[in-house]
Amino acid sequence: MSRSSALALLVASAVAIAFADSSVVVLALPQLYVDLHTSIEGVAWVVTAYNAAVAVVALGLVLFVHRLNATRVLVAGLLLFTAASIACSLAGSLGFLISARIVQGVGAALLLAGALPVLASLSGSAARGAAVWTLAGTFGVALGPALGGVLTQAFDWRAIFAAQAPIAALGLLAATRARAQAFVEEGWRPSLARTLPANLCLGLVFGALVGALFLAVLLVITGWSYSPIAGAAIVSVLPAATLLVRPLAARLPRLTAIYGGAGLLTGGLVGLAMLPSASVWLAMCALALCGFGLGLAVPVLSGLALDLGAGLSRSGTLSIGVRHLGLVLAIALIAPLLASELPAAGDRALLRATAVVLDSPVGLSKKVPVALDLRGAFAKARQGEVPDLSRPFDAHGARHDEQLAATRDSLLSAVENTITRAFRPAFFLSAALAALAALVAFVFRRRILA
């Protein structure tokens, strides 16, 4: 491996981490919720603050990033990102963590904007640099939740941020040794207008990814009570499918790849919306479709959004801003929808759980104490905690009593199925965003390819 390739690899790793950070903490949210004694809305800001900071800073940078030295922008971004990652890993309160995440987002925006010209310089051409940047970004986004889940289960939520610091520091080392060439920083077209349709599609696709990356993870961890590492194993289907579909994307006409990718993403999200029960296999099939869609659409759209004529820095920075804006706006739309559905679903789940217990063929000596313990568990759920509904059954001998065990399984199934259905409108909304991306691509098909 040549010196330039090694440096490019280190910078690309930092780019992947910055993209992964959009979704990396999702599997750790239940642990953050408990550790920081906060509310669901509070803990959601750990995700939103980062993405909002990246979007705002990147969109602001579009105006003057081409006048800045790319290497300096990258170094400044990596310095901020490394320091903020360490700060996040040491956070003792929600306020401090959210503040550090905002700084991390500012660093990420600078890092991502500066990395494009530097990667172009290191790889010898603007097109190759853009391809490396796009590839790192696509896998970073797809891998985020799985990576966060493994680190959370193996160590702690703090490990997610602690692990990022050395990767960013190595990127910093590489950036200080790289010299960006001027030719990749300057374009001859003053307007970025021709990139807008592709960017709009990218924003919508990233908005749709909220369903696959955030909602699916929340469903698996909080609704179906899987551990973070088991959740990571389930959602890792998505990056695996993204990787698998890569050769296909290169062999398809670009518009076909966009339509197909958005169509598959829509199909996968509809598949998640239509889950009839807490079925891991059906969820994995749906996530695989989302991964295929992501792998087909995002690289092609990224390539079209990066307009060399208008300058790699400017078009890349606009693309970064629009992607993260898509994420933030989708979270702003989807979060209230889910928040309004979940309490009603909780009530329905409680009624169905009551029906299961009343109709179970278990003797009164066990039925009544289990019912009273369940009442306490549901009361905890109403306060926002994830209840362990199998514990009351196990505490009263479900391991040795087949009827009690069957009642426990029926109750868990009734609750999980009801909670699964509560995610349906939010998944459908995500699917609508993906379908809208396909529609935008169709309407602006000539401008996208111009």
Binding site: L248, R251, L252, T256, G260, G263, L264, T266, G267, G268, V270, G271, M274, L275, P276, S277, S279, L282, C285, A286, L289, F292, L296, D347, L350, L351, R352, T354, A355, V356, L358, D359, P361, G363, L364, S365, K367, V368, P369, A371, L372, R375, F378, A379, A381, R382, Q383, S410, A414, N417, T418, T420, R421
Partner: protein, 153 residues
């Protein structure tokens, strides 16, 4: 004239899109369009009686029928009614304590009579049971001051 060769990538993409449709079809086949169970039965209608024999099963039949009767009087489901006892799981109570108590006593008395008619309960036990239902501190159960288990002891 040579026929153009089909693009295998297009064929794979088409297969993936068909797989997406197949996934949704499978989900619909597994009941995705229907409400998940168990269904909450209408308390005023006929319900499959609690199976089993012995004192425990008989008491459960009487109590469950009594809850059905009480829920029927209040135009609600048995489950909703049960959750109103003692303000279960922090839920707000829909009816006053007095209304719930009256409905519960009436439901249990009717269920006792039904059980006697079916021959589930020996005749000599009926007056004793009726007296128990009429005098049991149901108001304290509804307030949450005592649990069902205390009543059954």
């Amino acid at each position: 004239m040579r026929a153009s060769r089909p693009n295998p990538a297009l064929a794979i993409l088409a297969a993936l899109l068909v797989a997406a449709l197949a996934l949704v079809a499978v989900e619909l086949g597994k009941g995705a369009a229907h409400e998940p169970g168990p269904k909450l039965a209408h308390p005023c209608g006929q319900r499959e009686t609690h199976a089993g024999s012995g004192l425990d099963a008989t008491i459960q039949r009487v109590v469950l029928d009594g809850l059905d009767g009480a829920a029927c009087r209040l135009h609600t489901t048995r489950e909703e009614f049960v959750l109103s006892l003692g303000g279960a799981a922090g839920r707000p109570r829909r009816w006053s304590r007095h209304t719930i108590e009256v409905a519960l006593r009436a439901g249990l008395l009717r269920a006792t009579d039904e059980a006697a008619r079916r021959g589930d309960l020996p005749g000599f036990a009926i007056p004793f049971l009726r007296r128990l239902i009429e005098t049991a501190p149901l108001d304290r159960l509804i307030q949450g001051g005592i649990g069902l288990s205390d009543l059954l002891r």
